[in-house]
Assembly symmetry: C2
């Protein structure tokens, strides 16, 4: 993506709608919200990621001559509209929740405030980028939580859904907490650690396993993790590794990092046996890395069984978010400029109450418990509302509105989550580096109670609506409902 | 990918192994096979896709100065090896099964015969590309099978795992049978039909639904599919659509394509009601398109319920292959050049019998029933074997070898599936266009019995080993097993 312009990475209907607005002479400003409805893996939270690529996309959002020629060839677009596209550049405002932030369902993650044609065009690419990276960052956070501080290496490139899924997926995985990735391109593009030693093919290319290990240790004495399961882990692999370590030690070897890796078999049983063999041979400081269809549940199970594993290579299940391979983010119209220039809130109905949108130009507030610095709740308000943490705050459940909670004055702090990214088409935000975002994410995850981070029946964080927003929403629902009755 | 060089789209360990081979002076030729072990969704087959992007990758496989500088910065590689990389280009042979072909587990899809360093480097990118596109092409074939000839539109870009997943996923979906995609970039890159009309936001941008429909019909009279579920499908959406169709008809409207689309609710109930309303109003030729979390199972269920749907927009579940989001292809060393220049077969053991590889330089033969032109079985042989369909052929199950079948002389035809793609580093293959590949794929799917295409307990196609390959494999297993016993 770093070298690719994504202007035509859009659904065709964005362009047919744009031309429709163009023909209607509709240039009014609108508000679109990108948000999601359900945490992946039935979890209690998600991690925001992908903003830097959205910024890159918006900055390059122009139509080349080839793009215009291609669109002309579709016999759907008029020359005046194509001329408009040829001159297109983004002129609006974008607000977003910074990468690495903990997020919850229904919160606007990206808010576009721009002329309707511009805001409409951007829908598909924004969703594509945000949906993908939020998904993988969230999965990585879950996997890292299961590993309780052990290093998680992202190893999934070969099973990712195409080159970008591997490359930006690895970026998101590092944001979520991984110590590094096997993907060299991600290392090059984002300056994150790249990791790995050798595969089974290395072992099979030599006359025997011992020779393969010995050669590897000679060439890479400082980072010598030997893969021991090509032929037989306990009868051949571990004994040959110990033989090589012993010979290297006799020559005065002082490795920075050394050990073994297992990629198959019963990892609980084999790592305990291998640990004892290594310890008995005097290699108590040799690390044991494991891979092989791992995810947060397998890691949690292996740790509870006392498996002797220090670091984990996680591939397919992380890079595809296997159990929940789509984040499900949507991009919905929330307001449209009226004749007087004010933004008129809009709502989308649905037979499914969960799918009814929150209208208007909004802000998201995070309410922290002042004593523990943990998240107490989130509050979605209209953009122009202000709150004073030195006053009591009454919040209520957006679905079951009789459930009210008073948060006492002086016991909480507030932080607005949506920050300005573009103003009048100019980028006003500088993204931190990926490793800086990982640090931010670490602090963000620390702001969650374990009850929200657990995998089974996590505590659902409250995301409440302000009084003002709630009333606007209720009035719109009432109005539409009356209209529907009248039309019968 | 069309504009991106993917040289560093590789696992770090490919490069550390390459340097190891370089230091050992290992330049011998090897054979690597890319194959998969299990059909997605527990199906009976898969569809091969992605080869054109593999070719593109191999053609551009050189290290730029920036790549070399980046690798140097990792403090892992020596200058002589970096110089080797700076001069790198692929010099070997590649064979592959053409795109659109029906494939089965354990068959080599791509075979690389090249100096070990070159063949090793390519592992990750080949797997990434092939795994992704085979996965989505297979899912598309399943979805199209459920739709029994109705058009399937690929609509998943916003939920795809990044830009490439959307773009190359849509390419693969068209190969698998989709009539087109919403993704304009895929249309531009691969000359496939792009489809779509408008979203809920179009409706919400106008004072009322009727006005929104009317404007859309005016601007796009030839392709006027109106989305009827923004407010209330049966009370508002369908009546407003009928009102607009009636007004258009009064003006002498002769649309190429018109109708309605539903994106939510009980599609069986709503489409039957909507069909009746349209028919009663004189619009029996109006089409009904449906979307909303569809997959092959939902489509099969809706059709069995008599839902009145003519065309289907399939998004998330297709573009992510939701139930099986990874294809699981692997790339295994199968042979290595000996001192005399011959290729010595190699095998990888595993405690899991399914994971034991097939050794040697191989070919895959498709055995067709001469009378019905359907696939009878596939046969994996050594590359130098020839078979005469005018002689009896005895094949046996690779796992339960006592299960033998005689295919009588004159009743079958044979086709070798692996064809030359690169020879001595030069591409010798020209990829058909994507729409041509879709036609190939249609014929390929027709070569399967319905028993293999069904979703529940499909018939497992036999993929047998030739006598010669079976004996080589058995001898290698025996040899390794004796070695293991001796080492105890």
């Amino acid at each position: 993506m770093s070298t690719m312009k994504l202007t035509l990475l859009t659904d065709f209907y964005e362009l047919t709608m744009m031309q429709g607005y163009f023909k209607c002479g509709m240039h009014q400003k609108v508000v679109f919200d990108a948000f999601y409805r359900r945490n992946p893996d039935d979890g209690g939270y998600a991690i925001c990621a992908g903003l830097d690529q959205v910024i890159d996309y918006v900055k390059r959002l122009t139509f080349s001559k080839e793009d215009i020629d291609y669109l002309r060839s579709l016999n759907t677009f008029d020359e005046d509209f194509l001329q408009y596209l040829a001159d297109f550049h983004f002129s609006g405002d974008i607000y977003a929740i910074p990468e690495g932030t903990v997020i919850f369902p229904r919160e606007p993650l990206v808010k576009v405030v721009a002329p309707i044609m511009e805001a409409q065009l951007m829908e598909t690419a924004i969703l594509n980028i945000i949906n993908h990276q939020c998904l993988i960052a969230t999965k990585a956070a879950r996997v890292c939580y299961a590993a309780k501080g052990d290093g998680i290496m992202e190893f999934g490139l070969r099973r990712a859904q195409g080159p970008d899924a591997g490359t930006y997926g690895a970026r998101a995985a590092v944001i979520g907490g991984c110590i590094g990735t096997s993907n060299v391109l991600t290392g090059q593009l984002f300056d994150v650690p790249v990791l790995g030693t050798h595969a089974h093919s290395w072992i099979m290319s030599f006359p025997d396993e011992y020779t393969a290990f010995k050669k590897y240790a000679e060439y890479y004495p400082d980072n010598c993790v030997l893969l021991v399961d090509t032929y037989d882990t306990l009868r051949s692999g571990v004994p040959n590794a110990i033989r090589v370590f012993t010979e290297m030690k006799a020559k005065g070897w002082k490795p920075k990092k050394y050990g073994i890796r297992l990629d198959s078999g019963d990892l609980a049983y084999l790592t305990k046996k291998a640990r004892k063999m290594l310890d008995d041979a005097g290699f108590a400081d040799a690390s044991i890395a494991a891979s092989s269809d791992l995810d947060e549940y397998v890691i949690q199970s292996l740790k509870s069984q006392g498996a002797c594993i220090d670091s984990w290579g996680v591939g397919t299940n992380l890079i595809t978010s296997k159990n929940t391979p789509a984040f499900g983010g949507v991009y919905k119209l929330a307001a449209i400029e009226g004749p007087d220039g004010s933004l008129i809130p809009k709502i989308k109905l649905s037979e499914n109450t969960d799918k009814i949108t929150n209208p208007g130009n909004k802000q998201v507030w995070r309410i922290y418990d002042r004593q523990y610095h943990k998240i107490r709740a989130d509050l979605i308000s209209m953009d122009d509302e202000v709150f004073d943490p030195e006053q009591d705050l009454i919040i209520f459940d957006p679905k079951e509105t009789w459930k009210k909670t008073k948060i006492k004055a002086g016991t909480y702090d507030l932080r607005p989550l949506l920050v300005p990214i573009f103003k009048n088409g100019e980028c006003v935000y500088e993204s931190p580096s990926v490793l800086e975002i990982r640090d931010i994410c670490t602090r963000e995850k620390d702001s969650l109670w374990d009850e929200t981070k657990r995998f089974v029946n996590p505590h659902e964080m409250y995301v409440d609506l302000s009084d003002k927003l709630y009333k606007i929403k209720a009035d719109l629902l009432e109005e539409l409902s009356m209209k529907a009755l009248q039309s019968e």
